[in-house]
């Protein structure tokens, strides 16, 4: 019988060294570590805490929206809540999520490297992230900011009444962490690939992380500049955005969205990379159209920079610019569509294995498709005039960011958890929570498409009574979603002690990270892997045969 998967390099000989987790376990050894795996764990813990903060703000908002008069909080508090939710979730959860946790952990291993190119810079990135986060938390505790996560002037300058500069400083500092991470990954991919690992043998996760890193390096400085200009105008009255003192009222939005639309791709491209890995492994087939999926990541990184004006259709931007940005926005959907079609084609005649990571990936594909297609509504000038600043927009980008990226992040965590911890998570419970998340997510956000279409505006703490039923449904969905998020937190912690020991390659996957032990030794590989195979050398026919043989012996099909 043929092997169902041929790894990119032969399995590593036993290392006889303690794993990266067991090497040394003082607080100091964690806080001063330069091991990419430990830094990944540091990020995992920190972004989970930030997720709880952002989630708490969302919970209060959803509770407030149970009644049309918004009985729970005042409108000022509500403004602060959606600002906290946006700022924390975008900069302190979504942007770092897959790149800094999963990327840090598996990218060097996928390349057959002992670490990233600049390990100390990697640790510095985490400290910048934490330093920025501390500023943001301080701004929240000291009284909050009510501008929304977009910091539009003049809310954030002339009429600002919150701790705008403290919050902006936090984002500014954390941004440098992002830039350093992007730079680190670019150099790592160029310089640290194992012998034989040519560009076209790279796993697709590496392609998507590379593209993401390019965006991080090229876009984030513009955000930093924009925030500095905003602070200069606010603190010293230098006319940059305020027309009364010589500025241009739309310049802030141009600069902000020059960063923030590409940032949307920072928040989805890494998830797409995770999807490619998982879909190949659990359908036991090479990803259909490797080159198209790989280069569509690069295309997204480039085209993502030329569409920002679709956030400004009703801002009094010129009609001509609106038309240009509308056409370009339609263009950027092409590489995303290529990915979705190629993933679907990968499933065809695969040997499908319904494990938790795969469930998340199926969720991703469906929800990302809905999110992407509704994006086309918003890219159309005329339709957008009606839908701007309604719940339709909220639903659209939550389908991309929560339905897409959070699904991919959780799918990736389940997929690589055996590698990270050396233990299996409880499969049945994990499947159950994946279903909770899928059901809860749709119940939360699908009604918001309808609300937005009917005209309910975003960012108001009260609403017209006829919208109540759909809002109650949405809040009910959010509580199911919350249960779905707490379950993995609980069983991942449980599995650290009680989970079944995973072994080096529980999924029989092909990537280099699976040729080493779980959890890996400090330097990942005992001998330098020499890559002789393309990625995803899976054999679906052999996988089906192995499954049939197992069925005949009435063995549980736990490991194939």
């Amino acid at each position: 019988m043929n092997a169902i998967a041929t790894p990119q390099a032969p399995p590593q000989p036993p290392s006889h060294e303690p794993s990266y987790l067991a090497v040394e376990n003082t607080v100091r050894s964690w806080l001063l570590t330069t091991d990419h795996k430990r830094i990944g764990i540091l990020y995992m813990i920190s972004i989970t805490l930030f997720f709880l903060v952002g989630g708490a703000a969302a919970t209060l908002m959803r509770l407030n929206l149970l009644t049309p008069q918004g009985a729970l909080v005042t409108s000022t508090t509500y403004n602060k809540l959606f600002t906290i939710h946006g700022v924390i979730m975008v900069w302190f959860f979504l942007i770092p999520s897959v790149p800094t946790v999963i990327g840090n952990f598996v990218l060097p291993m996928m390349l057959g490297a002992r670490d990233v190119a600049f390990p100390r810079l990697n640790l510095a990135s985490w400290y910048l992230f934490i330093g920025g986060g501390a500023f943001a938390l301080w701004a929240i505790i000291a009284g909050g900011v009510d501008t929304g996560w977009t910091f539009y002037t003049p809310y954030s300058s002339t009429y600002a009444n919150g701790h705008v500069i403290a919050m902006a400083t936090g984002i500014f500092i954390a941004g440098f962490g992002s830039i350093a991470t992007g730079l680190n990954f670019i150099v790592t991919v160029h310089k640290m690939r194992a012998p034989g690992l040519t560009w076209h043998r790279l796993p697709l996760f590496v392609w998507s992380m590379y593209s993401t890193s390019v965006i991080l390096v090229l876009a984030t400085p513009v955000l930093a500049i924009t925030l500095v200009l905003m602070a200069l105008e606010r603190a010293f009255g230098i006319g940059i955005f305020d027309p009364a003192i010589g500025g241009d009222p739309l310049l802030f939005q141009h600069l902000f969205w020059f960063y923030s639309h590409p940032a949307v791709y920072i928040m989805i491209l890494p998830g797409m990379g995770v999807v490619s890995e998982i879909i190949a492994c659990f359908s036991r087939k090479a990803v259909f159209g490797y080159y198209f999926v790989a280069y569509s990541s690069v295309a997204i990184a480039v085209l993502g920079f030329v569409v920002w004006g679709h956030h400004m259709f009703v801002s009094s931007q010129s009609i001509y610019a609106g038309m240009v940005f509308s056409i370009l926005s339609f263009l950027v959907s092409i590489p995303s569509a290529i990915k979705v079609f190629n993933w679907t084609a990968t499933l065809y005649r695969g040997s499908i294995w319904f494990q938790t990571p795969f469930l998340y990936v199926l969720g991703f594909i469906g929800l990302f498709t809905i999110g992407g297609l509704t994006g086309l509504f918003l890219a159309a000038l005329a339709v957008d005039v009606h839908l701007t600043d309604t719940y339709f927009v909220i639903a659209h980008f939550h389908y991309i960011m929560v339905g897409g990226m959070v699904m991919a992040y959780l799918g990736g965590l389940h997929y690589w958890w055996p590698k990270i911890s050396g233990r299996m998570y409880p499969e049945l419970l994990a499947k159950l929570s994946a279903l909770f998340i899928f059901a809860g997510f749709n119940l939360t956000f699908f009604p918001q498409f309808i609300l937005g279409y009917l005209g309910m505006p975003r960012r108001y703490h009260a609403y017209a009574p006829e919208f109540q039923v759909l809002n109650v449904l949405s809040t009910a969905g959010a509580s199911i979603l919350a249960i779905g998020y707490f379950l993995p937190l609980a069983y991942f912690l449980w599995s650290l002690r009680y989970g079944k020991v995973a072994g080096p390659n529980p999924w029989q996957a092909t990537g280099l990270e699976w040729t080493t032990e779980s959890p890996p030794p400090e330097h990942n590989f005992t001998v330098v892997p020499i890559v002789t195979e393309p990625p995803y050398a899976y054999d679906p026919v052999a996988a089906e045969e192995a499954l049939a043989a197992k069925r005949e012996q009435r063995e549980p099909a736990y490991v194939r």
Binding site: V222, L251, W308, G309, Y320, A321
Partner: protein, 89 residues
Amino acid sequence: MNSIKPYVMVTGALFVLLVITVGAAYVNLGAFNTPVAMLISLSKASLIVLFFMHVRHSNPLIHIFVLVGFFWLGIMLTLSLSDFLTRHP
């Protein structure tokens, strides 16, 4: 570029250009005010990129990344101007 001499020379040139910047600010050149200021700052930036950032003596991959950076700056300026230049008064 192991010797310190080129850095000293570039630093000197930057200070000279700084003096020219300040001087030019006091002379009214009419329509040429902005282009002249831009030209001076462009030469300052080029000196920094080529010598202080070692781009002049780096390999082609670095050159590509530097060009990409400027190309992206071009995207930002061009598409922003597609709004500014076509607004109805």
